[in-house]
């Protein structure tokens, strides 16, 4: 029973993390760049206060590259790399992980295939060996492949019970038709069923390569040890090709409102249109603008107008989905079916209001101090720091970003926010998907009966 939760963000978590995870630290956390003899680099923050070592890593190229009929391939691979490798079958591998209290997890996003690794210092050698086996010698035996496939399918069935997921799937399919960004990361029952063992093997061989690898390490490890560690874990991987070909794409939105009728007492409302990429010069202005519009959890305009003043929702929010090859701004809300029309009208109105007028000076000042001040709060565990280090590198931010971020945010002025709001936001093009039994809501394009 928290005061607020954001159901939508489950689906968008990775994306939002990349969009928002840009980092800062106005104090003495030293980010070192470590280079192995083979030329692999990792960013490292040493911290010897606790005998724990965390690493995060990412291979460029993931679900957005899944073949159309085999959506969910990257995700299925991510669930299978720790299900048997080298001489160890699935149970033997899992048992060695558990006996060493080692965490080794993989996950597939749209653009990045990521891994998270954590071990006690005393088990570092064992943990490194298991990681090496997972990335170089995954077995994909029949039993684990079928077991995990069944689990992923069960998850998909469970997600299909959820109004927000149904709405989110539909909205992304509208925004990015015939593109990987518009398909479910974990696939559909049909596409998951179509994935063959040879697809999994090919993915592991072709995608898990050194040229696409980014590494962040934090915890009880020295520079020299970190060099050896990345060499031992990833040195056996082939160099591979550099950049996988994901097509640039513009989000398609025309102001369409769609209703998916389902037996829910609360309508799930997802809304969005094109947004901004991480490398856009206006990205930080957009970040601030989004914070004021719907990003700030208990302070945004949408929160104020829709929840605080009218009690129409429990959760409402917006976020920038900054993919490598497209941008979108996405929001979500949930309201009783009878109040869906009113909620939608207020969202559109606020959208237009921001597009036309931008933010007030007070809003801008408050947003800036929040965006600056909340950033260091993320450095709360070695795991979190390792993830941030990867995110910084993926976004080409430079190791001095932690020092520069404050100035970058402070440089955003009211004109920037007005310009980016006018450029990005268009209430006439805002697509909406409503799942439930909404009353008084007409399907179709805004302004056209």
């Amino acid at each position: 029973m928290a005061r607020s939760n954001a159901i939508l963000w489950a689906g968008l978590a990775l994306v939002l993390m990349l969009a928002v995870a840009p980092i800062k630290l106005a104090y003495a956390t030293e980010v070192k760049s470590v280079k192995s003899p083979l030329g692999m680099t990792a960013w490292l923050v040493e911290d010897h206060t606790n005998p724990v070592i965390s690493m995060s890593f990412a291979f460029k190229g993931a679900a957005a590259l899944d073949p159309v009929g085999k959506a969910g391939l990257a995700n299925l691979v991510s669930a299978l790399l720790d299900e048997g490798a080298g001489d160890l079958d699935s149970q033997a591998f899992q048992r060695r992980l558990e006996d060493g209290a080692i965490t080794l997890r993989f996950s597939a996003g749209k653009d990045n295939f990521s891994g998270n690794f954590r071990t006690l210092t005393e088990n570092m050698d064992e943990a490194t060996e298991l990681l090496r086996l997972a990335v170089t010698s995954a077995r994909f035996d029949v039993e684990p492949v079928e077991r995990i496939r069944a689990q992923v399918m069960a998850n998909v069935r469970r997600e299909l019970e959820d109004a927000d997921t149904i709405a989110s799937d539909a909205l992304f399919a509208q925004l990015f038709p015939s593109h990987g960004y518009g398909r479910r990361t974990d696939g559909t029952l049909e596409t998951i069923g179509a994935i063959e063992r040879k697809d999994l093997v090919a993915f592991a061989n072709q995608r898990l390569v050194r040229s696409r690898l980014t590494i962040g390490i934090s915890g009880d490890i020295t520079e020299g040890e970190a060099q050896k560690f990345i060499e031992n874990a990833f040195g056996d991987l082939p160099m591979g090709e550099v950049e996988p070909p994901v097509a640039e794409v513009q989000a398609q939105a025309s102001g369409m409102l769609s209703v998916i009728k389902r037996d829910f007492p609360q309508s799930a409302i997802l809304f969005g249109h094109g947004g901004i990429k991480r490398d856009d010069p206006d990205f930080y202005a957009a970040l601030i603008m989004n914070h004021i519009l719907g990003g700030g959890s208990f302070t945004s305009r949408l929160y104020e107008e829709v929840r605080e003043k009218r009690g129409l929702v429990y959760s409402i929010g917006t976020g920038l989905a900054a993919f490598d090859h497209a941008g979108a701004i996405i929001g979500s809300a949930g309201t009783a079916n009878a109040r869906a029309a009113e909620t939608i009208a207020i969202i559109r109105q606020q959208w237009g209001h921001m597009a036309e007028g931008g933010a007030t000076d007070a809003e801008l000042a408050d947003a800036k101090t929040y965006v600056i001040g909340s950033f260091p709060l993320r450095f709360t565990s070695s795991r979190a720091i390792a993830r941030i280090l990867v995110s910084m590198q993926l976004n080409h931010l430079g190791a001095d970003y932690l020092d520069k971020r404050k100035d970058i945010i402070n440089a955003v002025n009211a004109d920037d926010v007005r310009r980016v709001a006018a450029r990005l936001l268009d209430s006439d093009r805002l697509n909406m998907v409503v799942v439930g039994q909404p009353q008084g809501v007409t399907e179709g394009v805004v302004g056209q009966p």
Binding site: R3, N50, Q91, E98, A101, M153, G296, F298, T380
Partner: protein, 451 residues
């Protein structure tokens, strides 16, 4: 993660997860102010960040009959304002200073927490202390927030068949008017009937220093916290001592079962909840035994249940166990499984029973107990790596009436519990008829609700 239990027990489960933490765990500094406020400081100097959590020893189980949902409604209203910081100024000010915040309500307690840069600790302590006694309740705010909560209820229960089933399980497990049989979020009829006077009385009775626990974790020293606590919390006067609801173990009756058929369900699931002792019990050895049992039966992919049901028999996509020992009243032990298509829930139930009975008869295989303990003890190191884990674990324990040693002594209890203890605890648990078997299923084939 079993969906059925993932929502409303979040706080309890967090406590339980962090529980595998402990004398050697967080090494807190603990002291009490003259007005009875208990203060816990957990130093963590990795980064210049602090978390303040204020836990009140009041939750949904303390609500008067007919007023379910009141603790939670009050939690929402605590953000509305005081005379000094009116109209949402708390959240606005916190956000201006880059802080994050939230709050939660559970059966046993209600908590408020903020994470801020270390130089803003004084500010959040002033704000939190101010709203302990000075909340201004206004009818307009109450009515709006009631609407928000009805939306929250739709989201958690109306839109979510597993949320609905959970309510039914709680009622069956704690029959009559037992306080643990109530939904934390409240019955709709109760939520709409709560008045300003009800809320004011509840607030006056329960929100006071002697009924609260303050936890500060992060880049701060006990001396600094003490000075600030003296400045902001010490001047607060106590109200009357609150009376907690009695939380007895229900009488032993027959096992019961609940079944929810819902056309929206696409992935069925089964679970079995059995009443179990919580940390309130004097027999801490039994608690430790059940914690190890939980890990042996249901901890991860090499656990007995996962291995048997998911890997070897191939009848389930998920199987496991979960022991919630953090409650002030009765705890509960949960077994759960989710079937592969075409497998009946009864088959999962029997396969689970077979595994439990096998363990009760044969106990551990060679080396198994040592491996499980080693893994559990490692988790006490990992939890120290997180800023907030100690605040959750210690705050939750103290707010539910447990002691610092109940948390800090955890590794020692796990180290010393024996295989025989665990078998004995398993046998006792398994014989207890106070249990509810629950099934979540799609619409019945002939009900016409195929959608």
């Amino acid at each position: 993660m079993n969906k059925l239990f993932s929502m409303m027990l979040t706080a309890l489960i967090t406590l339980w997860l962090a529980g595998p933490a402990a004398a050697e765990v967080f090494s807190p500094t603990v002291f009490k102010l003259d007005n009875g406020l208990q203060v816990v400081v957990i130093e963590k100097h990795r980064s210049p960040v602090v978390t303040q959590m204020l836990w009140y020893k009041v939750g949904a189980s303390d609500e008067p009959t007919g007023k379910t949902g009141m603790a939670h409604l009050l939690e929402h209203l605590m953000f509305k304002g005081t005379q000094k910081f009116p109209d949402g100024e708390f959240s606005a000010m916190l956000a201006r200073h880059g802080g994050n915040e939230n709050a939660f309500t559970a059966l046993d307690y209600t908590g408020y927490h903020q994470t801020v840069s270390r130089d803003r600790l004084e500010m959040v302590m002033e704000l939190e202390a101010d709203r302990m006694r000075n909340l201004v309740l206004r009818s307009g705010d109450i009515n709006t927030e009631r609407e928000v909560i009805l939306e929250e209820r739709r989201q958690r229960i109306g839109n979510n068949p597993s949320g609905e089933l959970r309510l039914q399980i709680d009622q069956a497990l704690f029959p009559g008017d037992h306080a643990y049989g109530r939904p934390v979020i409240g019955w709709e009829a109760d939520i709409v009937s709560i008045t300003k006077q009800d809320l004011e009385a509840f607030y006056q009775q329960h929100y006071s220093p002697a009924n609260a626990v303050l936890v500060v974790a992060g880049d701060v020293t006990p001396g600094e916290v003490k000075a600030l606590a003296e400045k902001y919390y010490a001047p607060i006067k106590n109200g009357a001592a609150p009376i907690h609801a009695a939380l007895p173990f229900p009488k032993k009756g027959k096992p019961s079962s609940v079944v929810l058929n819902d056309a929206r369900v696409r992935q069925p699931s089964w679970n079995l909840s059995i009443l179990a002792p919580s940390m309130s019990s004097d027999d801490k050895r039994e608690i430790a035994a059940l914690e190890v049992l939980d890990e042996v039966m249901g901890g991860g992919t090499t656990s007995r249940l996962y291995r048997a049901l998911v890997v070897e028999q191939g009848i389930a996509v998920a199987a496991g166990a979960r022991y919630a020992s953090g409650a002030r009243g009765p705890g509960r032990f949960l077994f759960y499984a989710s079937p592969k298509p075409g497998v009946s829930l009864d088959a999962l139930q029997s396969a689970t029973a077979q595994e439990v009975e096998k363990f009760i008869e044969q106990g551990f295989v060679t080396g198994e107990l040592a491996r499980v303990k080693k893994r559990m003890l490692a988790s006490a190191v990992y939890v120290r790596d997180e800023l907030k884990s100690g605040a959750w674990a210690l705050g939750g324990a103290l707010a539910a009436g447990h002691s610092v040693m109940d948390v800090e002594g955890w590794p020692e209890r796990i180290r010393t519990v024996t295989g025989e203890d665990i078998k004995k605890a398993a046998r006792k648990l398994w014989r207890d008829p106070r249990r509810v078997s629950a099934k979540l299923l799609p619409a019945e084939p002939n009900s016409g609700g195929g959608g």
